[in-house]
């Protein structure tokens, strides 16, 4: 079946005089709008938006949607992104009128149910983290990182300490150094050792009284739990610095260990990953942060408090950094996360990580004879294979493998990240996939390995388009449609 309609742009479907939405006539006895406002403020004509009828509009966007891979249609083992099943019940429940129609500035008495939910969320996230206080405001993981670093800066300022540096392993997500820079710190890179863990010698050399925070991901982006963690946190704390955990990989350790128990002072969650957001083709996320009690006074305001008279928003936080987002953050995603946590309970949460780790190790075991996996033959919830030798021997790159997997109906793994692995192929199956799916995916990977290099360079072969010219896109950027085109 061909679906040519969806490849046209909505603007190309526009026909003067058509429209979808109609407004009621005005029911109040006042002059025309143009006579209520100063002439100088008014535009001569409304914006030149497209004019489309309802069926064209629907067909356009529905057909377009079929040109996506998604969790609901395809296995999506995108490393570091935790693309697990997004339960349908969450969508229905987040849409309840008593939730979706709430105005964020209505008085606390008129939204006790919502405040109770958010308070519960703060409490549950603190327990899973093994930390004392939670702020739900940050809108995404990177936003949580920035918020926590601003909290750290305020903490040190309050103590009269000047600390200018944030130490970050070379395997970290790019958001870590970017967040550090925006928070006003200098980012200093710490090397990984031959086991893919923090190089303790390098850390020891670079750690001094200028260090404010060590930002680590544990398990790290190689899918390895850094077993030096106790020594690392002790080292940092002895220097008076804080340890931050990038919580992107929490799916590996739920109910097995807690960041607070292994010495972390502050962390963010990716609710859209670990607690199955969903991801919305690039957001919304939610990036709450959890901190130790000594950092709690600096959290962004408001927090939800429980009092004898019910729940209320607490704005009276004199040492707070202020706020990082309007209102109360991405509540709709927090609501879905809450539904998930209430569905799982303690046993379910531990089962998540048990099976995420089991699935990743199983897949690793299935392919490791054929694919190089530089850092050991065990992993946590994800692992990083490398096409380095394939590239050397047969000119097959990680990108070739990624693109060919699309032909088999699988979304590609993350490729070329982390930067410490050449030709990286980062695979995170998640706990919601079955052994059968993993077996079929492993078979595809093994088969691709023996396909002709030239055939792989041309992949994908079965999607709507072949590989796009990304160089041209960046060189002569076309970022909008124009009528003359």
């Amino acid at each position: 079946m061909r679906r040519t309609q969806s490849t046209e742009l909505i603007f190309e479907l526009s026909h003067s005089g058509r429209r979808t939405h109609r407004l009621p006539s005005c029911d109040v006895p006042v002059p025309e709008a143009k006579d209520l406002l100063p002439q100088s403020a008014l535009t001569a004509a409304p914006p030149p938006l497209p004019e489309v009828g309802e069926i064209d509009l629907v067909r356009h966007f529905v057909n377009l949607s079929t040109r996506n891979m998604s969790i609901d249609t395809n296995f999506y083992p995108l490393g570091s992104c935790t693309m697990k099943y997004n339960p349908k019940r969450h969508e229905r429940l987040a849409g309840l009128s008593g939730i979706a129609d709430l105005h964020p500035l209505q008085c606390d008495e008129s939204c006790q149910g919502m405040l109770e939910l958010l308070w519960q969320m703060q409490t549950i996230l603190a327990e899973i983290a093994g930390l004392d206080a939670v702020a739900l405001q940050p809108a995404a993981g990177a936003h949580g990182e920035l918020t926590a670093l601003l909290v750290a800066a305020a903490y040190f300022r309050d103590r009269g300490e000047k600390r200018s540096r944030v130490l970050i392993p070379d395997s970290a997500h790019g958001t870590n150094p970017a967040s550090a820079a925006i928070a006003g710190f200098d980012a200093v890179t710490i090397k990984s050792n031959s086991r893919g863990m923090v190089d303790m010698q390098d850390l020891g050399t670079k750690l001094d009284e200028r260090t404010a925070v060590f930002m680590m991901t544990n398990p790290n982006t190689l899918g390895l739990f850094d077993d030096q963690i106790a020594a690392i946190t002790e080292l940092l704390h002895r220097q008076g610095a804080l340890v931050y955990l990038d919580g992107a990989n929490m799916n590996a350790i739920l109910g097995w260990t807690r960041p607070g128990d292994f010495g972390v002072d502050m962390m963010h969650y990716n609710v859209h990953k670990t607690f199955t957001g969903p991801h919305g083709a690039g957001g919304p996320g939610a990036g709450p942060i959890a901190v130790r009690a000594n950092l709690a006074p600096f959290l962004p305001a408001p927090l939800v408090m429980q009092t004898d008279a019910g729940f209320r928003l607490d704005y009276d936080r004199p040492k707070s950094i202020g706020r990082v987002r309007s209102f109360f953050g991405n509540v709709g995603i927090l609501v879905r996360g809450y539904c998930y946590l209430r569905t799982l309970g303690a046993q379910g949460l531990r089962e998540v990580s048990t099976n995420a780790v089991l699935n990743a190790n199983y897949l690793l075991a299935r392919i490791k004879k054929e694919y190089e996996v530089p850092y050991g033959d065990r992993c946590m919830h994800e692992f990083v294979a490398s096409a380095r030798s394939l590239r050397r021997e047969r000119k097959i790159s990680a990108m070739d493998i990624a693109k060919r997997l699309l032909d088999f109906g699988y979304h590609a793994p993350t490729v070329y990240f982390p930067l410490v692995v050449p030709e990286a192929i980062m695979i995170e199956p998640t706990e919601t996939e079955s052994k059968e799916t993993l077996d079929a995916f492993a078979e595809a990977l093994l088969r691709i390995r023996s396909e002709e290099p030239e055939f792989l360079h041309q992949a994908p072969h079965s999607l709507g388009i072949s590989r796009p010219d990304e160089v041209r896109a960046a060189k002569e950027p076309i970022l909008r449609w124009k009528k003359s085109d």
Partner: protein, 449 residues
Amino acid sequence: MSYVLNTADQQRAMLAEIGAASIADLFRPIPAALQLKRPLDVPPALTELELTQHMQELASRNRAALNSVCFQGGGCYDHFIPAVVDAVAGRSEYYTAYTPYQAEASQGSLQAFFEYQTLICQLTGMDVANASLYDGGSAVTEAVLMARTVTQRYGRVLIAESVHPEHRQILSTYLANLDAGVETLPTPQGFLDPADLKQAVDDETACVVVQHPNFFGGLEEVEALAQTAHARGALFIVSFDPISLGLLKRPGEYGADIAVAEGQCLGNPMVYGGPFLGILACQEKFVRRMPGRLVGQTVDRNGKRCWVLTLQTREQHIRREKATSNICTNQGLMALKAAVYLAALGPQGLKETAELCARKAHYAAQQLTHLPGVKLKFARPFFKEFTLTIEGTVSSILGRVLQHGYHGGLELGRWYPTLADGMSVAVTEKRTRGEIDGLVKAFAQAMKG
């Protein structure tokens, strides 16, 4: 219930393939002393039916559309959302996809975001728009960070007091450690007087930030303000109301360098404040300084038109600490909704929506100010929101108005100590004459005590 499919038999087979003796064996990398020896202390698991009942019970303890009428604004508005918006956004091919890194497998999202970028350009009259930021508040801050880099002026930022107080708070929180010299310009008459700006702006100023219509609902003298900023080489940043552009001049028409907005009003429900949509558009020449994701048009190997994420060398995953912003996950689904919403309205629909908002707001203002003790605070033209002063304690009057079934407005004293007797009222196209008359009656009774 954890949505796990592996059966006990399968788990055994998988462990055998791995060569692991047990599940515990897989978790050996976590030192034993650091492993949690007890179950997490979290509420017990619920089935879908129990969860539904629980959520319905929580929802029933909120006063929302089913049992009250919303006249609150302040950056979040109760506009009507056509069903097509939810039908499209409810397609799980969109909402269960990740950021479109693999272009061949993500053409649906990529094309939709390209259309969103174009629609925002059409809406604002600006040259380019990014594929979304978190919300209107962080968009203001990202615009300021961008202006500092564009102008290479790092010492001074001017922002009008009539900009949303929470947006100003976000700005000062982000910039706390950067010696950015953020100065708030007072707006005692409910708008930033261009003469006051002229006094304040200098050759060190990176940018001037205003909101139009502003937090009090009033219009700013945007043309004069833009000229004044430009005369000293500062960028002019405007935070606009997307719906207002059905009536008001577009940012591109009055010389804005960067235009930002809270895009919630474009097809997104209020959900107690999020997820919302940060809109950011700017002039072409600043594009390489822009924060956030951008979708660009290109061709595939067969010359077929297609779309990719582009100019990624600005972004954190390539540039790390030298990136234009740290943003990664943005608000893709909200951008998609905004795109469908704008296409559903079209030019005429947007114009009529804006006209209805303006007329109904003026009717409400007229009727409310007929009440003794109620006055318009500022002699400024306004769009869909306006500021009143009322005799009596604002919070208790609003509390009594709510008992009549109306969220009657926002108490301004919490942000502006000099406006202790002030409140703002927002009126969207959804509000009927009956609801407005009902609100007026509720105020009349509430003010009697």
